[in-house]
């Protein structure tokens, strides 16, 4: 989770609202990794994810006047990223089924501790996360990757804390079944 650097960031936002392209670019650079973790966590590392990531910032650019700083910019962008990712998942349901089909083949992959390549491990974990239902996946991404508290996740998604906790527990149960035999 990116910290909210109030003064510097407020100046950038004010300047960007005033049409300063360079300030807006700095905001993009500051938050692109945070947005990437959410979007790629939800959609996998694909061109689609990159397009959605760009769309997050374009939406922000167009609605900058509505951003009053009531939440941190990181949280605001994360919410946009969640909504766009969920929309994208609906659009590409067929493609998603194809991805899930590919994930089934990960049972044939060698054990994690035999893997030397960190990128392979990362990809393996990513594929395991993609195997979760979107409702579980988003909770896992926000809590375990982004590090938001369960209360923050509940507020962001607009669902009760108990639901977040049960989805988180069930999500981890599923991940345990996928990942633990390889650990």
């Amino acid at each position: 989770m990116t910290d909210y650097n109030s003064n510097e960031e407020k100046i950038l936002i004010t300047n960007a609202k005033g049409g300063d392209e360079n300030s807006f670019r700095q905001l993009v650079e500051k938050y692109q990794d945070q947005v990437a973790r959410v979007v790629i966590g939800m959609l996998g590392n694909s061109d689609n994810a990159r397009d959605v990531g760009q769309e997050v910032f374009i939406r922000f650019y167009r609605s900058m006047d509505q951003f009053k700083g009531e939440s941190t910019l990181g949280t605001y962008l994360t919410k946009i990223a969640i909504n766009l990712s969920l929309n994208e998942l609906k659009k590409i349901k067929i493609a998603q089924l194809r991805i899930v089909g590919n994930i089934d083949s990960i049972n044939d992959i060698e054990d994690l501790n035999q893997r030397q390549d960190k990128n392979e491990i990362k990809e393996f974990v990513q594929q395991a996360i993609l195997k979760l239902e979107p409702d579980f996946r988003i909770v896992v991404v926000l809590r375990l990757i982004e590090g938001y508290s369960t209360k923050e996740v509940s507020e962001m998604l607009g669902i009760p804390l108990g639901t977040v906790l049960s989805r988180l527990a069930r999500g981890q149960e599923k991940l345990k079944i996928i990942l633990m035999p390889k650990m």
């Binding site: 790629i40 369960t150 527990a169 991940l175």
Partner: protein, 129 residues
């Protein structure tokens, strides 16, 4: 492994257990090598997931800026255009309402003022005779 214990263990990472649940979990952890091992694996799993830091790679911000510039800076003008368009449309509706209220008809001729112009022409012709 008792499923309830496993569930308790998973929950303990993200929520505050009740006093009784915490005591129960602590006791079993003390005595069960299997549960301790599962705890280690779960921690490793959470670490692996937490380290799953993705990025869009280089040039991302340039691509965003290019897309904004494409569709672009005109989108900054669009809200202004929208406001003017709405104000114009509202004015037209109010004027039409006033026109009807004052007893006028809603025909195209009357709206454009052509009806009265035509009458003027007729009057002129009669006088010309």
């Amino acid at each position: 492994m008792d499923e309830k214990l496993s569930d308790l263990l998973i929950r303990s990472f993200d929520e505050e257990l009740t006093f009784e649940e915490q005591v129960r979990l602590d006791n079993v952890l003390k005595n069960s090598e299997e549960l301790r091992s599962e705890k280690k694996q779960l921690l490793l799993m959470r670490e692996l997931i937490g380290n799953n830091k993705n990025s869009f790679g280089p040039n991302f911000s340039s691509e965003v800026m290019a897309r904004i510039n494409e569709s672009g800076f005109s989108s900054g003008i669009f809200p202004l255009f929208k406001k003017i368009a709405f104000a114009g449309a509202a004015s037209i509706i109010i004027l039409l309402g006033l026109h009807v209220w004052s007893g006028g008809s809603l025909s195209l001729e009357s709206i454009l003022g052509v009806e009265s112009a035509a009458q003027d022409v007729v009057t002129f012709n009669v006088m010309g005779h």
